[in-house]
Amino acid sequence: MAMDAETIKTLITEKIEGADVRIEDLRGDGDHYAAYIVAPAFKGKNRVQQHQMVYDALGERMGNELHALAIQTSAPAED
Protein backbone atom coordinates (compact mmCIF):
# COMPACT_ATOMS: atom_id res chain seq x y z
CA MET A 1 0.00 0.00 0.00
CA ALA A 2 1.32 3.39 -0.95
CA MET A 3 1.29 6.70 0.88
CA ASP A 4 0.92 10.14 -0.62
CA ALA A 5 3.64 12.74 -0.28
CA GLU A 6 1.46 15.19 1.62
CA THR A 7 0.80 12.64 4.38
CA ILE A 8 4.52 12.03 4.83
CA LYS A 9 5.17 15.75 5.01
CA THR A 10 2.38 16.30 7.55
CA LEU A 11 3.60 13.48 9.80
CA ILE A 12 7.11 14.92 9.86
CA THR A 13 6.13 18.56 10.39
CA GLU A 14 3.69 17.61 13.15
CA LYS A 15 6.40 15.85 15.09
CA ILE A 16 9.51 17.92 14.37
CA GLU A 17 9.03 21.54 15.23
CA GLY A 18 9.90 24.11 12.60
CA ALA A 19 10.85 21.45 10.06
CA ASP A 20 11.12 22.54 6.47
CA VAL A 21 10.20 19.43 4.49
CA ARG A 22 10.40 18.74 0.79
CA ILE A 23 9.18 15.40 -0.51
CA GLU A 24 10.10 14.04 -3.90
CA ASP A 25 8.26 11.13 -5.48
CA LEU A 26 11.29 9.50 -7.07
CA ARG A 27 9.51 7.23 -9.52
CA GLY A 28 6.08 8.79 -9.62
CA ASP A 29 4.67 5.56 -8.21
CA GLY A 30 3.73 6.80 -4.74
CA ASP A 31 6.05 4.22 -3.28
CA HIS A 32 9.60 5.52 -3.54
CA TYR A 33 10.17 8.89 -1.94
CA ALA A 34 13.01 11.12 -0.92
CA ALA A 35 12.55 13.51 2.00
CA TYR A 36 14.77 16.56 2.43
CA ILE A 37 14.35 17.98 5.89
CA VAL A 38 15.90 21.05 7.45
CA ALA A 39 15.01 21.65 11.08
CA PRO A 40 16.45 23.61 14.01
CA ALA A 41 15.77 20.54 16.19
CA PHE A 42 18.55 18.69 14.32
CA LYS A 43 21.19 21.04 15.64
CA GLY A 44 23.84 19.33 17.71
CA LYS A 45 22.61 15.88 16.68
CA ASN A 46 24.47 13.47 14.44
CA ARG A 47 22.93 12.03 11.29
CA VAL A 48 21.83 8.82 12.95
CA GLN A 49 19.97 10.76 15.64
CA GLN A 50 18.44 13.07 13.03
CA HIS A 51 17.18 10.17 10.96
CA GLN A 52 15.88 8.45 14.09
CA MET A 53 13.75 11.55 14.77
CA VAL A 54 12.29 11.29 11.27
CA TYR A 55 11.64 7.56 11.63
CA ASP A 56 10.05 8.26 15.00
CA ALA A 57 7.67 10.74 13.34
CA LEU A 58 6.68 8.15 10.75
CA GLY A 59 6.26 5.40 13.33
CA GLU A 60 5.15 1.96 12.21
CA ARG A 61 4.50 3.15 8.68
CA MET A 62 8.17 3.04 7.82
CA GLY A 63 8.97 -0.28 6.23
CA ASN A 64 5.29 -1.14 5.97
CA GLU A 65 3.02 1.01 3.81
CA LEU A 66 5.95 3.33 3.30
CA HIS A 67 8.32 1.07 1.45
CA ALA A 68 11.22 3.28 0.44
CA LEU A 69 12.08 6.68 1.81
CA ALA A 70 15.49 8.19 1.24
CA ILE A 71 16.21 10.74 3.94
CA GLN A 72 18.50 13.72 3.94
CA THR A 73 18.58 15.88 7.04
CA SER A 74 20.37 18.98 8.16
CA ALA A 75 20.14 21.84 10.63
CA PRO A 76 19.59 25.32 9.20
CA ALA A 77 22.77 27.25 8.44
CA GLU A 78 23.79 29.72 11.14
CA ASP A 79 23.02 33.37 10.47
Binding site: R47, V48, H51, Q52, Y55, G63, Q72
Partner: protein, 109 residues
Protein backbone atom coordinates in the same frame (compact mmCIF):
# COMPACT_ATOMS: atom_id res chain seq x y z
CA UNK B 1 13.51 -14.27 23.07
CA UNK B 2 14.68 -10.78 22.32
CA UNK B 3 17.65 -11.19 24.67
CA UNK B 4 18.83 -14.20 22.70
CA UNK B 5 18.75 -12.23 19.44
CA UNK B 6 20.40 -9.19 21.03
CA UNK B 7 23.18 -11.35 22.43
CA UNK B 8 23.73 -12.87 19.02
CA UNK B 9 23.89 -9.44 17.40
CA UNK B 10 26.31 -8.22 20.05
CA UNK B 11 28.60 -11.20 19.56
CA UNK B 12 28.65 -10.54 15.80
CA UNK B 13 29.60 -6.91 16.49
CA UNK B 14 32.33 -8.03 18.89
CA UNK B 15 33.64 -10.52 16.35
CA UNK B 16 34.26 -8.23 13.34
CA UNK B 17 35.39 -4.64 12.81
CA UNK B 18 32.78 -4.04 10.14
CA UNK B 19 29.42 -5.77 10.16
CA UNK B 20 26.72 -5.21 7.57
CA UNK B 21 23.20 -6.42 8.26
CA UNK B 22 21.65 -6.70 4.84
CA UNK B 23 19.13 -8.40 2.60
CA UNK B 24 20.94 -11.14 0.73
CA UNK B 25 24.69 -11.48 1.01
CA UNK B 26 27.65 -9.53 -0.31
CA UNK B 27 27.85 -11.71 -3.43
CA UNK B 28 24.10 -11.59 -4.09
CA UNK B 29 22.39 -8.62 -2.49
CA UNK B 30 18.62 -8.95 -2.72
CA UNK B 31 17.78 -5.28 -2.35
CA UNK B 32 19.12 -2.16 -4.05
CA UNK B 33 19.83 -0.37 -0.79
CA UNK B 34 21.85 -3.26 0.60
CA UNK B 35 23.64 -3.56 -2.72
CA UNK B 36 24.68 0.08 -2.60
CA UNK B 37 26.34 -0.28 0.78
CA UNK B 38 28.17 -3.41 -0.41
CA UNK B 39 29.45 -1.41 -3.39
CA UNK B 40 30.65 1.42 -1.16
CA UNK B 41 32.53 -0.98 1.12
CA UNK B 42 34.04 -2.72 -1.90
CA UNK B 43 35.16 0.63 -3.30
CA UNK B 44 36.85 1.40 0.00
CA UNK B 45 38.51 -2.01 -0.18
CA UNK B 46 37.68 -3.06 3.37
CA UNK B 47 36.62 -6.52 4.43
CA UNK B 48 33.35 -6.89 6.26
CA UNK B 49 31.06 -9.49 7.75
CA UNK B 50 27.79 -9.70 5.82
CA UNK B 51 24.76 -10.98 7.67
CA UNK B 52 21.66 -11.88 5.70
CA UNK B 53 18.58 -10.93 7.70
CA UNK B 54 16.31 -12.66 5.19
CA UNK B 55 17.52 -16.01 6.49
CA UNK B 56 16.24 -15.34 9.98
CA UNK B 57 13.00 -13.58 10.85
CA UNK B 58 13.94 -13.06 14.51
CA UNK B 59 17.14 -11.37 13.42
CA UNK B 60 15.32 -9.31 10.79
CA UNK B 61 13.09 -7.78 13.47
CA UNK B 62 15.70 -8.01 16.22
CA UNK B 63 18.27 -5.82 14.49
CA UNK B 64 15.64 -3.11 13.98
CA UNK B 65 14.87 -3.10 17.70
CA UNK B 66 18.54 -3.37 18.68
CA UNK B 67 19.52 -0.30 16.68
CA UNK B 68 16.18 1.52 16.97
CA UNK B 69 16.29 1.80 13.22
CA UNK B 70 13.38 0.57 11.07
CA UNK B 71 15.18 -0.29 7.86
CA UNK B 72 17.82 -2.61 6.43
CA UNK B 73 20.76 -2.32 5.60
CA UNK B 74 22.52 -1.32 8.79
CA UNK B 75 26.24 -0.79 8.97
CA UNK B 76 28.26 -1.16 12.16
CA UNK B 77 31.91 -0.18 12.50
CA UNK B 78 33.78 -1.29 15.64
CA UNK B 79 30.49 -2.03 17.33
CA UNK B 80 29.03 1.37 16.60
CA UNK B 81 26.03 1.94 14.35
CA UNK B 82 27.11 4.26 11.54
CA UNK B 83 23.98 4.39 9.42
CA UNK B 84 21.70 3.00 6.80
CA UNK B 85 21.96 3.37 3.04
CA UNK B 86 21.40 7.15 2.84
CA UNK B 87 23.90 8.05 5.53
CA UNK B 88 26.54 5.67 4.17
CA UNK B 89 26.17 7.10 0.68
CA UNK B 90 26.39 10.66 2.01
CA UNK B 91 29.45 9.83 4.14
CA UNK B 92 31.14 8.03 1.28
CA UNK B 93 30.64 10.92 -1.14
CA UNK B 94 31.92 13.48 1.37
CA UNK B 95 34.93 11.35 2.31
CA UNK B 96 33.75 11.06 5.91
CA UNK B 97 33.46 7.30 5.74
CA UNK B 98 37.11 6.96 4.74
CA UNK B 99 38.07 9.31 7.59
CA UNK B 100 36.05 7.26 10.04
CA UNK B 101 37.81 4.06 8.93
CA UNK B 102 41.18 5.80 9.26
CA UNK B 103 40.28 7.02 12.75
CA UNK B 104 39.27 3.51 13.75
CA UNK B 105 42.50 2.12 12.34
CA UNK B 106 40.78 -0.01 9.71
CA UNK B 107 42.81 -0.41 6.55
CA UNK B 108 41.89 -1.59 3.10
CA UNK B 109 42.59 -5.29 2.71
Amino acid sequence: MQNVVFERIQSELDGSDIVLFMKGNAAFPQCGFSSLVVQVLSQLGVTFKDINVLEDNDLRQGIKDFTNWPTIPQLYIKGEFVGGCDIIREMYESGELQSLLDDKGIKAA
